[in-house]
């Protein structure tokens, strides 16, 4: 047992490893959240226009993902799907599962924001002669985007934290690096301290962005 005393020499010696893990976590965060927001807008658009069949499919997908644990989804994808010939490396599997997970939540966020808009917005747009397509692009989507930002950032933060789950299939992100170090050296406190610092930095950084964005987006309303 190493005890609670922290060996700072060891702490600094593992810093480069953690930086590499941090890099991968940040890349995961950027890639998965970027793709998921883009796809979620498309899915929410399909939901808005009530496209038959596709609409039901998306609803089923969203409720399936939101009602099951991400860890089970991850295992299903990584250990289950190779059986029918769908196999990918841990990193690719992780990115796919995390993206699919985040997309479902983001779709729900955007759908909720769109449904929360007052109906007079649609009526006003119609009376100005906008067609449904133009109405969505120029009125509904921009206004909904404003209200969706806090929920969207929450999902981004959750997705970033959930990237820690990917360590269980061997993606070498932050948590994996820490657990690997502990298995090698039995120095748990130093590694957990480093892990804590890394995650606090990421989440607090994202939270700061949320605050800035909210202030920026709120400005328009106060005019």
């Amino acid at each position: 047992m190493t005890g609670i005393a922290i060996d700072w020499n060891y702490f600094w010696s593992v810093a480069p490893l953690f930086l590499r893990g941090l890099e991968l976590t940040l890349v995961l965060c950027l890639v998965c959240n970027g793709i998921s927001i883009a796809v979620a807008y498309v899915l929410a658009t399909i939901l808005y226009f009530r496209t038959p069949v596709l609409c039901q499919l998306i609803r089923a997908y969203v409720s399936l993902i939101r009602n099951t644990p991400m860890l089970v989804q991850l295992f299903f994808f990584y250990f289950g799907l190779p059986e029918i010939g769908v196999a990918a490396s841990p990193l690719i599997s992780g990115i796919i599962v995390l993206t699919v997970w985040a997309t479902a939540y983001q779709t729900e966020n955007i759908r909720g924001a769109i449904e929360g808009l007052p109906p007079r917005l649609t009526e006003a747009g119609r009376s100005l002669g906008l067609r449904p397509g133009g109405l969505f692009v120029f009125v509904i989507a921009p206004v909904a985007t404003r209200t969706v930002v806090p929920a969207m950032m929450n999902t981004i933060i959750s997705a970033t934290k959930n990237s820690a789950l990917l360590s269980s299939i061997g993606v070498m992100e932050l948590t994996y690096v820490a657990m690997d170090n502990i298995a090698e050296s039995y120095r748990s406190m130093e590694n957990f301290l480093a892990l804590l610092i890394c995650y606090l930095t990421i989440v607090m950084g994202l939270s700061a962005i949320v605050t800035l964005l909210e202030r920026h987006l709120g400005r328009g309303y106060r005019r």
Partner: protein
């Protein structure tokens, strides 16, 4: 796909589901108590109490659940605390749920209009009875949906126990797959994990229905 495998192992899966339920119920109860206590403390006017509580809440909210779980399971011995997988999972989910619930409760308390407090004071109630009888009931009712969302996440998080070796649903699935691929060849991962996804999905639907019922029930009494 072979569904016989699920049927053959139904007792095993049932016992595993029992563990998942134990983790869920225990951690939800503990989280509820913790979130009430810490959520209330986070609204105390005394800065000396409020700030440390809020910092602790924030730290627990910001680290991923898995990391907290690993910290409790692998790190606790350094503090002279030996925890089994089951205890570690329950403690992790209680603390995590407590921190997130505390934030919800804090929001609820802060949303109670100030004049409620002032009116109660002018009626001659003491600080403690104002908090328990006036503020808390009004603070808790509107946050039920948010809290229900938290319970949903806690239910999903019981699957994390698999990572430290609690034989709950996910771990039982792994064991069944290992056993089947050893004795029968092939790997039935798709069937077993698919089955576990379905179990969680159904449990989630049932819980949502229950919560909606509760909300309707509570909404009715507030409309009187």
């Amino acid at each position: 796909m072979n569904f016989d495998l699920i049927l053959e192992n139904r007792d095993f899966f049932l016992r595993a589901a029992g563990y998942a339920v134990v983790i869920f119920v225990a951690s939800t109860m503990a989280a509820m108590a913790l979130s009430l206590a810490f959520g209330s403390l986070a609204t105390v006017r005394l800065k000396l109490i409020r700030m440390p509580v809020r910092i602790v809440i924030e730290v627990f909210r910001d680290i991923p659940q898995v990391v907290l779980l690993f910290f409790i399971f692998f790190g606790a011995p350094a503090f002279g605390l030996q925890l089994g997988p089951l205890q570690a999972t329950i403690l992790c989910l209680s603390l995590w749920g407590g921190a997130n619930g505390a934030e919800i409760v804090r929001g609820g308390i802060n949303a109670v209009p100030r004049h409620q407090f002032e009116s109660a004071r002018s009626l001659g109630l003491g600080s403690f009875s104002i908090f328990v009888a006036i503020i808390l009931p009004q603070a808790l009712r509107p946050v039920i949906p948010a809290y229900a969302g938290l319970c949903n996440i806690l239910m999903h998080s019981t699957s994390l126990g698999a990572l430290v070796g609690v034989v709950e649903l996910l771990k039982s699935g792994q064991i069944v797959i290992d056993r089947a691929s050893y004795y029968q060849g092939g790997s039935p991962g798709l069937t077993v994990y698919g089955f576990i996804l379905v179990v969680y999905f159904i449990a989630g639907l049932l819980m949502n229905a229950g919560i909606r019922g509760l909300e309707r029930h509570l909404g009715r009494s507030s409309k009187r």
